[in-house]
């Protein structure tokens, strides 16, 4: 990893249109964006400007868009749904605003899930890795609790442990502190920044200017387009 870092994400002329009851919403109107390995990019913009839509496309959750996207140097459009699932599983860790933990599973089972789906470790090994990630998140005493029994901050830390279980190179976070009080939010942000310092490529949608200050790059989205100017 000497010299210029490789581009992880190369978006060019990305457009996304939703049609809802004959109404057409242009959620993204031509996004060009390159993100290199190890960068911390903040995405800001008003509600409804298209931030989540963009993050979903970057995270290979949404394959219905126009334009071209190279992920780790390979065009995304040529890949089958199962191939994309495998990349999501191994290369990308998601942290959502509303956690998206499975309510019927314990924290440990939730965190182990991506490793189980990856299928290259035994169930015991998967749980062992998940345990270790949860320990790092300070949840060792909560392994057998269901998400319902935890505070929002604990839930988000469990979700982060889950995102890290397959040691992905890219971390995507969509307003990860949106549902948290400010003290807990600061804890979560500190964890995310620590991960970035550890070498992870981090893309975070946020409304927090202080976070944006810390980020190496801030991308402002306005009505589905990047505006490189201020505010």
């Amino acid at each position: 990893m000497t010299g210029a870092p490789e581009p992880v994400i190369e978006l060019s002329a990305i457009r996304k249109t939703y049609t809802k009851d004959a109404a057409i919403v242009h959620a993204l109107r031509g996004i060009d964006l390159t993100i290199k390995a190890g960068e911390f990019t903040a995405i800001m913009g008003r509600s409804g400007s298209g931030k989540s839509t963009l993050l979903h496309i970057i995270g290979l959750l949404d394959a219905e868009y126009q334009g071209s996207y190279r992920f780790n140097g390979t065009p995304v459009e040529d890949r089958s749904p199962d191939a994309l699932a495998q990349r999501r599983n191994r290369d990308i860790g998601f942290v959502f605003q509303s956690f998206h933990l499975l309510p019927q599973l314990t924290i440990l089972e939730n965190a182990a899930l991506p490793a189980l789906y990856a299928g290259d470790r035994s169930a015991d090994e998967c749980r062992e890795v998940a345990r270790e990630r949860l320990r790092e998140m300070g949840l060792l005493a909560r392994l057998d609790h269901k998400p319902m029994e935890l505070s929002n901050g604990q839930r988000q830390r469990a979700a982060i442990a889950r995102a890290l279980v397959n040691a992905p190179r890219l971390l995507l976070a969509d307003e990860p502190t949106g549902a948290l009080d400010s003290k807990t939010a600061d804890e979560i942000l500190e964890i995310m920044l620590e991960l970035h310092r550890g070498g992870a490529t981090l893309i975070m949608v946020t409304h927090d200017r202080e976070v944006a200050e810390v980020a190496e790059r801030t991308i402002h989205i306005l009505d589905g387009q990047t505006s490189n100017g201020m505010v």
């Binding site: 199962d82 789906y117 299928g119």
Partner: protein, 402 residues
């Protein structure tokens, strides 16, 4: 690679089982629907087999390799089967194991103050075995008694009861042809079903006397019926042909006689029962179909309810294939468990009823296998559409689903 695939499959199996257990009430109802469908298929096949076995048993009890020849023009047409035809059959037709000609007349016998008509049959000792007679008490008469024209008789159970009640006194006798016949035994027909297949000449009030004795005392020239036992069931058609040829050759063409075997009834009975069973299976398959539609219905509801669960799994990198297989497994498990319960029910009820009535109830291994296979196939077939719906969900929409 194979180990990895197994681990993957086991993981999805665990998810499937967890989901079924989590919704146990609904799962049980779905299973019940499948169980009823499967049980009706297995039960219906058992009933069909039981019916077939009953009919076949009737026929085989009488003797499926039994051929009988009888005249149809008694009293009108003298050209019937006569005494001399019998040795001719044995001499000329291969495949005959035993032969039993029957002479027949009747007499009015005083019983308990009133006279009743009693059939008198002149038979050879072979009759006992050929006609499957069971000697209830005493004995059948011997070859020697037949050769000597001895005045002995064996009574039908009905006649013995009419005359003496439950047991007859030793040295009892009966007057026939104006002579005293010593009673040596009492018989009954070995297979009660004989009368159901064919009218028995020995039913009701009947006395059997030796063939030779009958000939000596009566001027009857024609035999009532000749029972011919072929060596094997396969030889039956040849025996029928041979006997027909001989009777035709030895009598004038106007001779009236019939030659029948139970073989033809056996084939017919089997054919009819197979057709009936197939018809019943088709009807009960409809309930299996209803069970399958029940599974599809439940799975569709489940998929909708678990939209966000599915969205999360897909987002974490479960492939469409993993989601698809998990839901197919859920459907297959529901229908397999239903199938197992159905087989237990469908086979258990006939077994229990059979045990109550002391009847051996056939449960077709084939129908059990078919019921298992079909129930799993039904689950996979009707589970396919919901599973594909789950697997091809739009992930972002599914995640946002509240």
């Amino acid at each position: 690679m194979a180990r990895r695939a197994t681990a993957w499959f086991r993981l999805l199996l665990r998810f499937a089982v967890d989901a079924i257990v989590a919704q146990r009430g609904r799962s049980l109802l779905t299973i019940l629907g499948m169980a009823i469908g499967t049980a009706s298929v297995v039960g219906v096949v058992s009933i069909g087999l039981l019916g077939r076995e009953y009919v076949v048993g009737l026929i085989e009890g009488v003797g499926s390799n039994l051929v009988f020849a009888y005249g149809t023009g008694r009293g009108v047409n003298p050209e019937e089967i006569d005494f001399d035809d019998v040795p001719a059959f044995v001499a000329a037709v291969p495949g005959i194991q035993a032969i039993a000609p029957v002479l027949r007349t009747s007499e009015l016998v005083p019983i308990k103050g009133e006279t009743q008509q009693v059939a008198i049959l002149g038979v050879t000792p072979a009759y006992e075995q050929v006609r499957n007679m069971v000697v209830e008490s005493g004995r059948f008469f011997s070859e020697r008694e037949d050769a000597q024209g001895a005045k002995v008789c064996v009574l039908s159970e009905d006649l013995a009861i009419e005359l003496f009640g439950s047991t007859y006194p030793p040295d009892a006798s009966l007057r026939l042809f104006g002579l005293r016949f010593r009673i040596v035994g009492v018989f009954r027909e070995g297979v009660e079903s004989a009368a159901a297949v064919q009218k028995s000449e020995a039913a009701g009030l009947a006395a059997l006397i030796p063939f030779a004795t009958f000939r000596n005392l009566s001027d009857l020239r024609y035999v009532d019926v000749v029972y011919i036992q072929s060596a094997t069931p396969q030889a039956v058609p040849g025996v029928v042909r041979g006997v027909t040829d001989i009777i035709t050759a030895r009598h004038r063409e106007i001779s009236n006689f019939k030659i029948e075997s139970l073989d033809q009834y056996l084939v017919l009975a089997q054919r009819v029962s197979r057709a009936v069973t197939l018809g019943l299976i088709a009807i009960s398959a409809v309930s299996l179909l209803v069970g399958g539609i029940g599974i599809m219905n439940i799975m569709l509801v489940t998929v909708t309810e678990r939209t966000s669960d599915i969205g999360i799994r897909l987002a974490l990198g479960a492939g469409q294939r993993a989601i698809m297989v998990q839901f197919l497994l859920e459907a297959a498990i529901l229908s397999l468990v239903g199938g197992v319960l159905g087989v237990i029910l469908g086979a258990g009820v006939p077994f229990y009823v059979g045990w109550l009535y002391g009847v051996a109830v056939p449960v077709s291994g084939l129908s059990v296998t078919v019921a298992f296979t079909v129930s799993v196939a039904v689950g996979l077939f009707f589970g396919f559409y919901p599973a594909r719906k789950a697997a091809s969900m739009n992930i972002v929409d599914a995640l946002g689903y509240a």
